[in-house]
């Protein structure tokens, strides 16, 4: 890239006030026009992220979490996509930015680590080149200095014999090693915001722990904000400041991490937590699966989008979509008419059970999931299909 172009880019970056949020997303909609109709992949998401903070975005496949990340990055296909709302990065609007503007943002300001490190690295380019390419693109430095920087980056992401590794190709490394390289590339230019889209889903559990530790350490050391996208609540539990749970393109619950686990209100959050096999539970414990599937985002159900799978759903839920409701805890909001932990919730479960609703019958044991779901050691009563254990006050 020429110096002239870089200079233009630098001018665009007026110093942003440091106390303002780094990223502000307002009522973001990303709609794909498909043969069947409009798919509302992201449907009215708002949040803001302060500098140096970590947000976890959690949901099943198809909940819109990856599209959300890509919408903010501006990594969507050009045709058949409609993106409305507002995305402000350091106070500047990203929606409608030109490709040149985006090129200045990517890498140096906002960066991303993808799920599959093998397909996101170039298989025919040496590791060293892939890292220095990024540095030379964005920083006004010499090739030699870029190589030195690449070396220290590899060391900082925990790659031994970094010198030798620079001359290797991606296929010569293990999955964990490749993900470390991806992280090194992503943080090379000191971005202010890092997206990690399922960074450990393709990795073993021991390597997963190492990579998450590395991401967290780098994020703290560089005072980088991070958005960690995952389907596993276990991954985000100890590593985020805040969690947004997504369902059918919407945020259904958002709270500071500790609050979410101790005071969860949305039935979907509860169901996600319950479906994780617990190490503390005896073997052959029947798992609390969420019945059914995420809704069709082209023809979503009326009312609350989770209502067809929700054990607590009543008539109102099927007709009227709940708005985001604030709780007494600052920063905790949810979308539910019959939130978990209320007497109404308990009554709704009883009523649905009496009516024989399969989603309600599938709920085992303690009817209100507050606390029990968050305690991994709480044993879940053993039932087989067909017999329902209703002890535990439910």
């Amino acid at each position: 890239m020429s110096r002239r172009r870089r200079a233009v880019g630098v001018e665009r970056f007026e110093p942003a006030p440091l106390d303002a949020p780094l990223l502000e997303v307002e009522d973001l909609h990303t709609h794909f026009r498909t043969g069947r109709g409009v798919a509302r992949a992201v449907d009215g998401v708002s949040f803001s992220l302060e500098r140096g903070r970590t947000l976890g975005v959690v949901g099943e496949s198809g909940s819109g979490k990856t599209v959300l990340a890509r919408s903010i990055m501006g990594l969507l296909p050009k045709s058949n996509v409609e993106r409305t709302g507002s995305i402000k990065f350091e106070g500047r609007e990203v929606i409608g930015a030109t490709p040149d503007d985006l090129r200045e943002l990517w890498g140096s300001q906002i960066s991303m680590v993808f799920q599959d490190p093998m397909t996101s690295l170039n298989p025919v380019m040496k590791i060293g080149k892939q890292i220095t390419e990024m540095l030379l693109q964005h920083l006004d430095i010499s090739k030699d200095y870029a190589r030195e920087l690449a070396l220290s980056l590899l060391e900082s992401v925990g790659i031994p014999e970094a010198d030798r590794r620079l001359k290797e190709y991606p296929h010569q490394m293990s999955g964990g090693m490749r993900q470390r390289i991806m992280i090194a590339i992503a943080i090379a230019c000191g971005p202010k915001l890092l997206f990690a889209d399922e960074p450990t889903t393709a990795l073993d559990v021991t390597v997963q722990a190492q990579i998450l530790d590395l991401l967290q350490a780098q994020q703290r050391e560089r005072f980088m904000a991070m958005i960690l996208v995952t389907h596993d609540l276990g991954v985000v539990a100890g590593r985020t400041d805040e969690i947004a749970v997504m369902y059918a393109g919407r945020v259904v619950e958002k709270a500071p991490t500790k609050v979410l686990f101790s005071e969860l209100r949305h039935p979907y959050t509860e169901a996600l937590l319950r479906s994780i096999p617990k190490l503390g539970a005896p073997s052959h414990t029947r798992l609390a699966a969420i019945g059914g599937r995420p809704p069709d985002i082209v023809n979503p159900p009326a009312g609350c989008k989770f209502s067809p799978r929700c054990p607590y759903a009543r008539e109102r839920c099927l007709e009227e979509e709940p708005p985001l409701i604030d709780t007494a805890t600052p920063g905790h909001e949810f979308r539910c008419w019959i939130p978990v932990g209320t007497p109404e919730n308990r009554e709704a479960l009883e009523a649905n059970r009496a009516a024989g609703a399969p989603s309600a019958l599938a709920v085992v044991g303690e009817g209100n999931g507050m606390g029990t779901a968050a305690a991994p050691s709480a044993p879940t009563p053993h039932t087989r299909s067909g017999s329902i254990d209703t002890k535990g006050g439910a």
């Binding site: 900082s156 559990v205 722990a209 190492q210 530790d213 967290q216 596993d232 100890g238």
Partner: protein
């Protein structure tokens, strides 16, 4: 880990499958080098039991499963299934064992032929083995599809791409049980699925096991999943068995440092647990081309001494029905001394 030895095997007349001293090796191109994928592994499964096989990628768990099926021919050892040594069978004799041994694969979508209809996919085994007449085969297909929760009327004429990953895995399960096998090897059947769907499939496998009286070998890297489904768990590392025990005992009191480390690495859905304090094992699995001498885990083990480099530990019983291949097994209540958190980048310097 070196875990050789057969102390953990049960009497031959009690088990459905007995794998003894299994060795699988692959040549590396023309280099003359050898990948020691499975080195002297012995496992057994009783009828109706689920054996969980856990370990990291590259530990040889999938190769063990495939070698049991004779999809790769073992270089040494024996695989006794239902009274026959499969390693000695060839051609038609081996083919005849196939309907009794089935497999469910990791990626449900790519393990179903995209060009065939669901009903034909599930029916194929019955057609090949000429089990029952046409009506009986149709009835069987309808029955198994119904039991896995797929509507046979609506889904039968459709093709795999029209289904989600979870549904495709249900269809794979239906196909596997159609020929009424005695043993099903499930190779990472839920690792490509979301947690919510994973729970559905695990529950389904449990139901199918009871309904059809199945025996399962369940291969996975997620210890929580394995604990949920297994009656007995074998932990593998770099082609060797580390530890064999019942799941509750194994998870409550792991005797092998590797098992303890694996358990520590599982993310806990509880924000009060600080993950950084839980990293039990650094580094990555060494190359199976040149595995470490002695105990193969010693390069990453916090308890390793000189003895571990020289002498390969043999599997022995440390507690009733709890077998471990380690010179210095962990005592009940002993916790793995976590490596001091490295300052600065927080990564493990030995990686």
């Amino acid at each position: 880990m070196a875990g050789h030895g057969t102390a953990h095997l049960r009497p031959a007349d009690e088990v459905l499958l007995r794998v003894e001293s299994l060795v699988v090796e692959f040549p590396v191109g023309r280099t003359g080098l050898t990948v020691h994928a499975v080195s002297d592994v012995s496992i057994d499964v009783k009828p109706g039991e689920t054996l969980g096989l856990v370990g990291e990628s590259g530990c040889g768990k999938s190769t063990t499963g495939r070698a049991v099926m004779q999809l790769v021919r073992p270089k040494g050892g024996s695989v006794t299934f239902d009274g026959h040594d499969l390693t000695q069978l060839k051609g038609e004799e081996l083919r005849e064992t196939r309907p009794k041994l089935q497999m469910i694969f990791q990626d449900p979508i790519s393990s179903l032929n995209p060009r065939r209809r669901i009903r034909d996919i599930v029916r194929e085994g019955l057609d090949i083995w000429k089990i029952g007449d046409d009506a009986a085969r149709n009835a069987k297909v309808t029955e198994v599809l119904e039991t896995v929760g797929i509507d046979p009327e609506a889904a039968g004429p459709r093709r795999p791409h029209e289904f989600s990953g979870g549904q495709c895995q249900r269809i794979s399960i239906a196909r596997a049980v159609a020929t009424e096998p005695k043993l099903i090897i499930c190779d990472e059947p839920v690792s490509a699925l979301d947690v919510s769907v994973q729970a559905q499939i695990l529950n389904l496998l449990q139901e199918m096991k009871q309904r059809y009286g199945l025996t399962l070998i369940f291969i996975a890297h997620d210890l929580a999943v394995v604990k949920n489904v297994s009656d007995r768990v074998a932990v593998m590392y770099l082609g060797k068995i580390c530890e064999v025990s019942g799941p509750d005992e194994l998870y409550a009191q792991p005797a092998h440092p590797y098992t303890a480390a694996l358990l520590l690495a599982i993310p806990v859905p509880d924000p009060t647990v600080r993950p950084a304090e839980r990293s039990g094992v650094g580094g990555e699995i060494p190359s199976p081309v040149a595995p470490p001498s002695g105990c193969r885990f010693r390069t990453r083990c916090l308890k390793a001494t000189d003895r571990c480099a020289q002498e390969e530990p043999e599997i022995r019983e440390v507690r009733p029905d709890h077998f471990v291949a380690c010179h210095f097994p962990m005592e009940p209540g002993e916790t793995l001394a976590a490596p001091a958190p490295t300052a600065g980048n927080g990564s493990h310097p030995d990686i």
